[in-house]
């Protein structure tokens, strides 16, 4: 038995205080950003490798130092202190600046990649080492993207350090991004094989089942290419339904997917910004399912066109595909999906646009053992669950009626259960029989939000 006398009673330092190590972290972050800036604009004067790659390295070290200090200082329950009071995380001026800068970066990346030459040169040695070929804007993007997930993965690990579920899940998204979406595709290029992302599937990676891609993989990749086509098809049509049946859509969206990986790590400070209103839900169903339909139609048209050798549909299907690529692939998933993190939350793309999420969601809603259970009549309607739901689900609506939460959009990140101050929610897989039944200890409304 412990007694009061044997325990330390050190007061926790106040949340706003800056200690020396935090300050050192901020200095390194600033130096790193300056280095990257110099690489971008001053490549003629200084080696962009030194300034850009060096700057990225210093930025990483500084960010880790700062994150380590600021997150360790707070106990698990203190992690969300002030989120709605600090302007960076409550759509204040700095949030808009970050939003504009991110959006602008995507615009340059997609439509003016030449402007990023300095930064592309900065990653040249890394590209040569990993892929045995020159760097390009996509390699630059992949490097930054992976680094963001790894560094902010540390942030998530510290923030949710009292939960094994979140520790394992965060390590999983870090692993899949680094291994399957960065190192492995690079290695394939090094070996002169087709660049292939084993963690992305049709309909998210819509072109993986387009006839052109299939042809190319089989032609260029030989046996490995055949395996890639086989892998993609099996995951899209067999593994996805089976895994979703057992675990819900979370096996992909918050454990494997790169978009989800970025959302769960770099996007975590913005998760409360998602819109919880009924109107937002109406928008969601009005956009995400048509996009899934669009991908399915495009794919079908391309195959019909391919089989008929272009006689049936002419160039129409190609136009269809490039339209999708521009509006959905580039505009939506990149510019709005990530650029608007600080303004609309970290899952805008996953919620309103991603065809894979739509497909997984239909499976989760109608063909899965997954649900979030509510613990009897314990809910106090506080709203932490709804507030911190990155998908904008009004979790409280169900919890306060003792009902399980079964929603197509739920990515199973588990943060609702984590922030609940009464331990009311639990993600679990159970028999489908009685899946929608709630607790008998509480009365409920018959009203449905979408009506």
């Amino acid at each position: 038995m412990h007694t009061a006398a044997t325990l330390p009673t050190s007061p926790s330092p106040s949340s706003g205080s800056l200690n020396v190590l935090k300050m050192a972290g901020l200095v390194l972050i600033s130096l790193g950003l300056l280095g990257i800036l110099v690489a971008a604009v001053g490549a003629d004067y200084l080696s962009p490798v030194m300034t850009g790659l060096g700057g990225t390295f210093i930025l990483t070290v500084g960010a880790l130092l700062y994150i380590w200090q600021s997150r360790r200082q707070k106990s698990p329950t203190e992690q969300n202190h002030g989120i709605w009071q600090q302007e960076a995380t409550s759509r204040g001026a700095s949030a808009w600046v970050i939003g504009f800068v991110l959006t602008g970066f995507y615009v340059l990346l997609y439509w003016f990649p030449d402007t990023l030459q300095g930064l592309i040169q900065a990653t040249e040695p890394l590209s040569q080492w990993l892929r045995g070929r020159p760097s390009d804007q996509w390699f630059l993007y992949g490097t930054f993207y992976t680094l963001a997930i790894l560094v902010m993965g540390v942030y998530a690990l510290l923030k949710y350090r009292n939960s094994r579920y979140h520790i394992i899940r965060t390590i999983s998204v870090m692993f899949f991004q680094l291994g399957f979406a960065f190192l492995l595709p690079g290695l394939l290029l090094m070996l002169n094989k087709p660049e292939y992302y084993f963690s992305y599937f049709w309909p998210l990676k819509y072109d993986y089942l387009f006839p052109g891609t299939v042809d190319y993989l089989i032609r260029d990749g030989a046996a490995l290419g055949v395996f890639m086509v086989f892998w993609g098809a099996v995951f899209s049509f067999l593994a996805t339904p089976v895994l979703t049946y057992f675990y819900g859509k979370r096996w992909y969206c918050s454990w494997v997917c790169g978009c989800g990986g970025l959302a769960e790590t770099a996007g975590d400070p913005y998760r409360h910004l998602s819109d919880k209103s009924r109107k937002a839900w109406r928008w969601e169903v009005a956009t995400i399912y048509p996009i899934l339909g669009f991908v399915i139609l495009t794919t079908l048209f391309l195959w019909i066109n391919s089989w008929s050798e272009g006689r049936l549909l002419g160039d129409l299907s190609g136009g269809f595909a490039s339209t999708y690529g521009f509006f959905i692939g580039a505009m939506f998933s990149g510019v709005i999906g990530v650029g608007f993190y600080p303004l609309m939350g970290n899952r805008v793309w996953c919620r309103f646009g991603c065809p894979m999420a739509a497909y997984l969601g239909l499976l989760q809603k109608h063909f899965s053992r997954f649900r979030i259970s509510t613990n009897g009549a314990q809910c106090i309607s506080c709203g932490n669950c709804s507030t911190y739901c990155e998908m904008g689900i009004d979790v409280r609506w169900y919890a306060q009626q003792g009902k399980p939460i079964i929603r197509a959009s739920c990515v199973g990140c588990g943060i609702c259960a984590h922030v609940c101050p009464r331990g009311v929610l639990k993600l679990e897989n159970g028999p489908r029989e009685g899946r929608y039944a709630g607790s008998p200890l509480i009365g409920r409304d018959e009203l449905r939000i979408l009506g």
């Binding site: 412990h2 709605w84 094994r164 209103s277 009924r278 106090i380 639990k426 018959e446």
Partner: protein, 459 residues
């Protein structure tokens, strides 16, 4: 009793959890006109979540469970006004701003506010309780830029206030009458564990201390407090968290019987016909043996409203609360309780008690020594399934029955370490003749077997 008619007007004063639940349940079974009056806030909000607004976890609009469209579609009228008095003869409410409101049936769900005990200086600037939205706004103003605070009372609101103040870096001292935090509710071990944890979060705890007086500065603001033992503690804020008292002053001349709260029977009927009271403001005339006269909890407010709604809808049922349950959170440590675990364990009480080495988690299963009947469960840092605990207590399970189903009761997240093993080891040491269960029942099997699920499947 007759069901409320479609042309009748049900007026509810108060839109806390009791008033709101009542309106919702009556609406489900009747087309009568329903009006909810509140001076505090036009929209119902979660009172228990006020602390999260202060700490910046949420905004006020985030602790509002039902948006405007909900009340419109449910045809529940909301009136944001203060009821000056109730005229039961004319069945009329006189309002501060709006026109008088006529009612056919009136439900008083006016809640409570902080209880003061005539301390010298208790009306000074910087001295306050925390119950209402206005209290929260006042606390924002009262704590702006201050360095030290004292909280009087070692209960649940007290520790919430301490957590709020710490989030702004304000030094907090709590005056606690007992020898340990919340020791009038928690047994020794649990109280010790929670006490240590609160201290680790930098809260200064003064035990066996009470407030003597509050000392003012020249501007009429609190400057310090003096304790019963004569200590003077400088502070710029004093939180009064020594319990709550029913909000009933405006009913003085209404001809409604009042003691501490509005006196009601087990149907929530007052002495006036067509007038009911429930929630924090109601007081039972004849509480069942061992039951309190006032139940001032979120959960009981909701349960009472469900019982009264049933009566108003024509199914006259006395209020039976069923096995007790409650929950709270002390900084990082969640607390759940099911059944009855008294603070002072008696001769006939025996328990299986386990806590981890870091003293952040604990489980107590309390049972009767003679009959082995389960009396209650206390949990710190561990979640159990309410539905199953309720079933155990309702069905009069013995400890031996409970042990057969123990692994199914855990509600912790996936991948969390499980501690049932430790509890079972203790159990088999104490009862070596008992055999381990022949098969491990999963929660899903038990849920089906005992029917621990609602029959409606709407979602």
């Amino acid at each position: 009793m007759e069901k409320i008619k479609a042309d009748e007007h049900l007026v509810i004063i108060g839109n806390g959890i009791a008033g709101v639940t009542l309106a919702q349940r009556v609406r489900q079974g009747s087309d009568c006109r329903i009006t909810m009056v509140s001076a505090e806030s036009r929209l119902h909000f979660s009172r228990t979540a006020l602390m999260y607004v202060y700490m910046g976890h949420m905004r006020f609009q985030d602790i509002v469970p039902y948006a405007d469209w909900y009340w419109q579609e449910q045809q529940i009228e909301l009136v944001h006004d203060y009821v000056e008095r109730v005229e039961t003869g004319d069945k009329k409410l006189v309002m501060r701003e709006g026109v008088p409101l006529h009612y056919d049936k009136l439900v008083l769900a006016t809640g409570s506010s902080a209880a003061y005990y005539d301390w010298p200086g208790q009306t000074l600037k910087g001295v306050q309780g925390l119950v209402s939205l206005q209290d929260l706004e006042l606390m924002e103003a009262n704590t702006a830029g201050i360095a030290q605070a004292v909280i009087v009372g070692g209960g649940l609101i007290g520790v919430e206030m301490a957590e709020m103040l710490r989030s702004r870096g304000i030094a907090v001292t709590m005056l606690i009458r007992d020898k340990l935090y919340w020791h009038n509710v928690l047994p020794q071990e649990e109280a010790q564990l929670v006490t240590d944890h609160i201290r680790q979060h930098g809260i200064e705890l003064l035990f066996q201390e009470e407030l003597q007086e509050i000392v003012a500065d020249d501007a009429g603001r609190v400057r310090a407090i003096r304790t019963r033992s004569g200590q003077e503690l400088p502070c710029q804020f004093v939180g009064i968290t020594t319990g709550v008292q029913p909000n009933v002053e405006f009913l003085k001349d209404a001809g409604i019987d009042i003691d501490r709260g509005v006196l009601v029977n087990e149907f929530f009927e007052t002495n006036q016909p067509k007038v009911y009271a429930l929630g924090d403001c109601a007081q039972f005339r004849n509480p069942a043996p061992g039951q309190p006269m006032l139940e001032q909890l979120w959960y009981t407010g909701r349960l009472q409203a469900e019982a009264l709604a049933s009566t108003l809808l024509g199914d006259r049922k006395p209020y039976e609360r069923g096995p007790w349950f409650n929950s709270a959170k002390f900084f990082d440590i969640e607390y759940q309780t099911y059944g009855t675990v008294p603070a002072q364990l008696a001769e006939q009480h025996q328990s299986l008690y386990w806590q981890n080495e870091e003293a952040t988690k604990a489980i107590r299963l309390l049972y009767d020594k003679e009959t082995a009947r389960l009396l209650g469960v206390n949990l710190l840092g561990i979640r159990y399934r309410h539905d199953l605990c309720h079933h155990w207590l309702q069905q009069g399970y013995t400890l031996h029955d409970v042990m057969q189903e123990l692994p199914a009761v855990n509600f912790d997240p996936e991948f969390f370490q499980r501690y049932e093993e430790a509890l079972l080891r203790q159990y088999y040491t104490r009862f070596p003749e008992r055999q381990p269960p022949s098969k491990n029942n999963t929660w899903w099997e038990l849920r089906r077997r005992f029917g621990l699920a609602s029959d409606t499947a709407s979602c």
